[in-house]
Amino acid sequence: MLYRIIALIRKEFLALFKDKKTRVVLVVPPLIQLLVFGYAATFDLNHVPFAVYNEDSSSASRELIAHFESSPNSQKTTDISDSREIQPLIDAREVMLVIHISPQFKRKLVLGEPAPVQVIVDGRNSNTASIVLNYTRSIVTDFNLQWAQQHGRASPPVYLQSRAWFNDNLQSRWFLVPGIVGLLTLLVTMLVTAMSVAREREQGTFDQLLVTPLRPIEILIGKAIPGFIIGLFEATLIILIAVFWFEIPLRGELLMLYSGVFLFLLSAIGVGLMISSLAATQQQALLGAFLFLVPAIILSGFATPIENMPDAVQTLTYINPLRYFMVVLRGVFLEGMPFELLMPQLWPMALIGVTCLFLAGWLFRHRMV
């Protein structure tokens, strides 16, 4: 039995790697994606272009503007002198933020009246807009505290001391790169396994395989192991790049990480083989894999938190293996999560994997018509 399975595995690898283009496609693009997306996928703003419309040329207004200029997140592009210039600048996306200081600014400030500063933000990307508003508020708060100290004004009775755990500088790359590990591992594993049965069905060799002494369980193992090996290789490569190139801290134990990888691969292969045995042609298998992949990525919490989704959609995410793997990846990478906190993520992946593999094996024989 072992010999038969090994022969089948060898055949699968030959089928995958005999073509040079396929060999390249399995290794090079995921690496390029990791590098490009690792840099591209960020919610942090580091060059907020802004324009200043200062109608109050006083030392105070210049000091406030200096606070904005010295912030590492923003970058002044223009000074404007007419309110009619604001609209074209924002419309054409040349600036995200316009700071408007009215003529009475210094006078009010000195008299102790609240001096207003108007900020206009481009809201086309709502997430960017709220981050810009947050930056603006914290810059003005800093200015206020400094002004209050220097001019003997009362400081507020309560002040905040904020800290972010696990990610002190709130870099979204630390959150997104471990997510990309899950994304790319799923992508490669699904494509390899989804094609495996469908290709043979389309070419008619699957029927031949079924009449050999190989039992369905042996075919299942023979089809699953190549996907597993490729997935494991891919995941390891990506984890290495995440740690050594992107310098994402790996605070948990490798054993925890790999038990997550192992169970996730099991579930991804299960889904892939199930789709593959349902499909009659390669094209159906590919499109089927795609129909699974896209919602799975969107509903995994990769870019948008699951907690923000409506309850019905949140319930739906429980059948998505990537959802659990995302928690494992981020938990092990950033929080150093211990085993007992990881358990609730591990067993659902195992359950999904075993169920799908069982269904795939059943479909081998029963989807004959």
Partner: protein, 375 residues
């Protein structure tokens, strides 16, 4: 060969292609089911706006002052606070992911409040998701400053704040993330149909040799290409219309620009996507490869490098340069501006021009690649 014969041949090819699409459940799924699923997911399911964020309020010594401060957290729908008695419990809750942040009022809160230096409030957020962490910090800041103002008013004065921020958000004053996600999604859906589906279908013809078989018939290369493109162009336009209708009537996204400009921009992008799909299939001539390449060079960049979710301006310079060769980048800029800002010609013209250039480049490449095969 008369002109009439050419139209007839073309009509036959288009008919064949439509039949093929309609008879294969998987292509129907990509062309019709997928756009609707995506629209529903992005319209209802996905949101970057955190609401009802669970936070732990840790109050070492309850008093009238702490009650007043913590009631501010109960009053806003940004937070779903739970009150805990000590920091250990709160830290465990943060680790287990039950709360996203901790607001800690120390025992001497009431006393420090009345002293010159003021009372510190310790705020800890879970920074794993940096974006949510930052939003939560912003919300806490908002609750804090509203509370300060309230307190000052109750004492009959105004809060002594030197500079006050008056914020105005243009185009999307409620900052709904749906308003920018749904328009951008049209670019993703059209990439799916134009590039991925086309690449797969044409690659299958190459793989099976039916393309070569067609080439020995009187059908010309141009007719063949048109015969492939027309059905997918119609499908793509259909899904664009569907997306716009759903965006406007189901998700209440405003369309402030003109519909015809949107239609024109979408057609241009669709041509680019079709060109990419045809080029990929002509180069790979293999379904597996075509799918891999299509996902990697069209779908994922449309998702991640187009400004659909992630701001291009925040990417490193090298990546920003790369985004210039991603057609979806120009289309997403067009979409977000047309839907939320209006007919801003300084945005529309350069982006439309870029799409037009890309369409021409891709078609010249496809034409040259397919012609070579005949030699």
């Amino acid at each position: 060969m008369t002109r009439g014969g050419s139209t007839m041949r073309l009509r036959a090819l288009v008919r064949k292609e439509f039949l093929q699409i309609l008879r294969d459940p998987s292509s129907i799924a990509i062309a019709f089911v997928m756009p609707i699923v995506l629209l529903l997911l992005f319209g209802y399911g996905v949101s970057l706006d955190a609401k009802n964020v669970p936070v732990a309020l840790v109050i070492d010594q309850p008093s009238a002052d702490t009650a007043s401060f913590s009631s501010a957290f109960y009053a806003t729908d940004y937070f779903k606070p739970i009150t805990l008695r000590n920091m250990q419990h709160a830290e465990i809750a943060l680790l287990a992911g039950e709360v996203d942040g901790i607001v800690h009022l120390r025992a001497d809160f009431g006393r420090d409040l009345r002293h010159a230096g003021g009372a510190p409030v310790q705020v800890i957020v879970n920074g794993v998701n940096a974006n949510t962490g930052r939003l939560v910090l912003g919300y806490v800041n908002g609750v804090w400053s509203t509370w300060l103002q309230h307190q000052a008013e109750m004492r009959g004065g105004t809060l002594d704040v030197p500079v006050q921020v008056e914020q105005r958000v243009w185009f999307n004053s409620e900052l709904r993330s749906r308003n920018f996600l749904v328009p951008g999604l049209i670019a993703i859906i059209m990439t799916l149909i134009g590039a991925l589906l086309t690449a797969l279908v044409v690659a299958r013809e190459w793989e099976r040799g039916t393309f070569e078989a067609l080439m020995v018939t009187p059908v010309s290369i141009t007719e063949l290409m048109l015969g492939k493109m027309i059905p997918y162009f119609v499908l793509g336009t259909g899904s664009m219309l569907l997306s716009v209708v759903m965006a406007l009537y189901l998700f209440d996204v405003p369309l402030r620009g003109s519909f015809w400009v949107l239609w024109l921009g979408s057609s241009l992008f669709l041509l680019v996507a079709l060109g990419m799909g045809m080029l990929i299939s002509t180069v790979t001539k293999n379904q597996f490869l075509a799918a891999q390449v299509a996902i990697i060079v069209t779908f994922l960049p449309a998702f991640l490098l187009s400004g659909f979710i992630f701001e291009i301006a925040s990417m490193p310079t090298v990546v920003q340069i790369i985004t210039h060769i991603i057609p979806a980048r120009y289309f997403v800029a067009l979409l977000q501006t047309l839907f939320l800002a209006g007919d801003v010609w300084s945005v529309i013209l350069p982006n439309a021009l870029a799409l037009l250039l890309m369409a021409i480049v891709f078609f010249v490449l496809v034409w040259r690649k397919s012609r070579k095969r005949l030699e």
